[in-house]
């Protein structure tokens, strides 16, 4: 582990620089938009100042309890179910050719069903409460995790599996210690994609049969042509996505530390960067 974590000493200066770097593009875009929207006076693209004003009014912290929190809870519940279900099913289908073949048409069929068309079904099965919303979220967020898990499981190095078999590692341990870690880079890729999809579907699900939540809010504003207010909702979703993704990456960094090391991504040995064989590494020396 120790070789993988960064040296603390040079950390602060570099971190500040990194932060600056990360904020450069968003800042430029915001300024650009601000200037453009001020001049354009477009109805659907209101000036930045106006949006921010409404944002403060609405979300600090008027509607946090009434809309944001219920939305978040639904989303987290849906995401959690998706992860558990996706990884479990993915393992099953990835390891068994028989099950995979049998389930393929059904899975692909379900995957292609549009969420809005499924909402009626969800309403019938789970009622208009949170159940149906979680269901819709799961039905969208499940697939990236499931597909990545299946493909990840199937792509585990055969040499490692042979090793495990030759030492007669029992199935459960083989799953826990070889198949899951081996597939974990892909599972994480799926989970990260799903995180955003879960947020999107949270909104979609709240657009029907709902009386609170971010989706409801956005829809209500849209219906009443309250465009700046609607934008605050979209911005809030972006912020939400960013924060959740940041948390996600922290976890991933932990879990996939070995992978970053083995793949030379922890700024050590050869970085696969086309342009930076020396530049990034010289700084380490």
């Amino acid at each position: 582990m120790s070789a993988v974590t960064r040296a603390p000493r040079k950390g602060t200066g570099r971190r500040a620089l990194g932060l600056l770097l990360e904020l450069a593009l968003p800042a430029a875009l915001l300024i650009g938009y601000g200037l453009w929207s001020h001049r354009a006076q477009s109805f659907y693209f209101p000036p930045l100042g106006e949006i921010l004003e409404y944002f403060g009014e609405l979300w600090l912290f008027d509607r946090v309890g009434s809309d944001l929190v219920p939305s978040l809870l639904r989303m987290l519940a849906g995401y959690a179910v998706s992860v558990v279900l996706g990884v479990a099913l993915g393992l099953l289908l990835g390891m068994s050719r028989l099950l995979r073949t049998a389930a393929e048409p059904v899975v692909e069929f379900l995957r292609a069903l549009p969420a809005p068309a499924l909402i009626p079904f969800a309403l019938l099965m789970f009622g208009a409460g949170d159940g149906s919303k979680v269901f819709v979220i799961v039905l969208g967020a499940l697939w990236p995790i499931l597909l990545n898990t299946i493909d990840g499981v199937r792509g585990v190095d055969t040499q490692q599996l042979d090793m495990a078999r030759s030492y007669r590692i029992p199935l459960a341990a083989r799953i826990a210690h070889i198949i899951l870690p081996g597939a974990s880079p892909r599972i994480f890729a799926g989970m990260r994609t799903s995180l955003a999809i879960a947020i999107i579907l949270m909104v979609v699900s709240e657009m029907v049969a709902s009386s609170n939540g971010l989706g409801y809010f956005v829809l209500e504003q849209q219906r009443s042509f309250a465009i700046p207010e609607m934008w605050t909702g979209i911005i809030l979703l972006g912020v939400l996505g960013y924060v959740l993704n940041w948390l996600f990456l922290r976890v991933e960094r932990r879990v996939l530390a070995w992978h970053r090391g083995a793949r030379g991504l922890s700024a050590e040995t050869a970085t696969p960067a086309p342009s930076t064989p020396s530049s990034t590494e010289k700084t380490d020396a």
């Binding site: 030492y167 007669r168 974990s184």
Partner: protein, 255 residues
């Protein structure tokens, strides 16, 4: 103990393709140390994989202690030729070695002891907390060997296990292996490209010829308690070496 009869293995779906192993028949006695020599690509690895039950044979019969082999038997350890890919990159060296022990029913304390002992024996005592990808090639190979030794198998299959270590270390590992073999009475099948090594280690040397059937078989009558200097100076050693060299080079030599 191990009986192989008419073993044949063809890769891929077409049974008419060139076989990797064809018509291989031999037996290995309990506690025997058998070395296998053969040119590159003659089917040694394939044979070991079939014997270990990792891949099914196309036809023929393999039995271990009288029971046909259908999957990896208990108490077997395998050191793969492609050692670097057989180590798990997400586990430290120590955990790589200890990993199979847990599922053999060894308790944690003992597993620790076995792991430390094995790592120590292969000269990696201080590297337990590294990851495999932080080690040199030879070290990785020794981790794979340590894993097999710590497992205390009763049958040990080794596929060119010392290919990436220096001569010095190699001699040490040879003697280590002989020590373990004698102490625990295990059966060893050992693939190597080094004729000296084969003669030095083995009770019997099989020479495979493509597609792997036993082209030549040499019983090594050198006294046990072998020694790197003494044994290799023994006149019989030179004779066996010459015989194997000839067998590898040309066709079978009338013994």
């Amino acid at each position: 103990m191990l009986e192989v009869a008419n073993l044949r293995k063809v890769y891929g779906p077409d049974p008419h393709a060139a076989p990797a192993v064809a018509d291989l028949t031999f037996t290995v006695a309990d506690r025997e140390f058998v070395c296998i020599l053969g040119s590159s690509g003659c089917g040694k690895t394939t044979m070991l994989r079939c014997l270990s039950g990792l891949i099914p044979s196309t036809s023929g019969h393999i039995s271990l202690r009288g029971k046909p082999v259908t999957g990896p038997p208990d108490d077997m350890a395998f050191v793969f030729q492609d050692y670097s890919r057989s180590l798990l990159p997400w586990m430290t060296v120590r955990r790589n070695v200890a990993f199979p022990l847990r599922y053999k029913g060894v308790d944690r304390r003992e597993a620790e002891a076995l792991t430390d002992e094995a790592l120590d024996a292969v000269g990696l005592a201080g590297r337990g907390d590294r990851y495999p990808w932080q080690l040199s090639g030879g070290m990785q190979q020794r981790v794979a060997i340590a894993r097999a030794l710590a497992y205390r198998p009763s049958i040990l299959l080794m596929d060119e296990p010392f290919a990436s270590v220096d001569a010095q270390t190699r001699s040490g590992l040879e003697d280590l292996l002989l020590g373990v073999w004698e102490r625990y009475g295990i059966t060893v099948l050992f693939v190597t490209h080094d004729i000296d090594e084969a003669v030095y280690l083995a009770d019997r040397v099989l020479v495979l010829r493509p597609p792997a059937n036993v082209g030549h078989e040499v019983t090594v009558n050198l006294p046990r308690g072998r020694d790197q200097v003494e044994t290799k100076a023994h006149p019989e050693f030179g004779r066996l070496r010459g015989e194997l060299f000839a067998a590898l080079d040309g066709g079978p030599v009338a013994a």
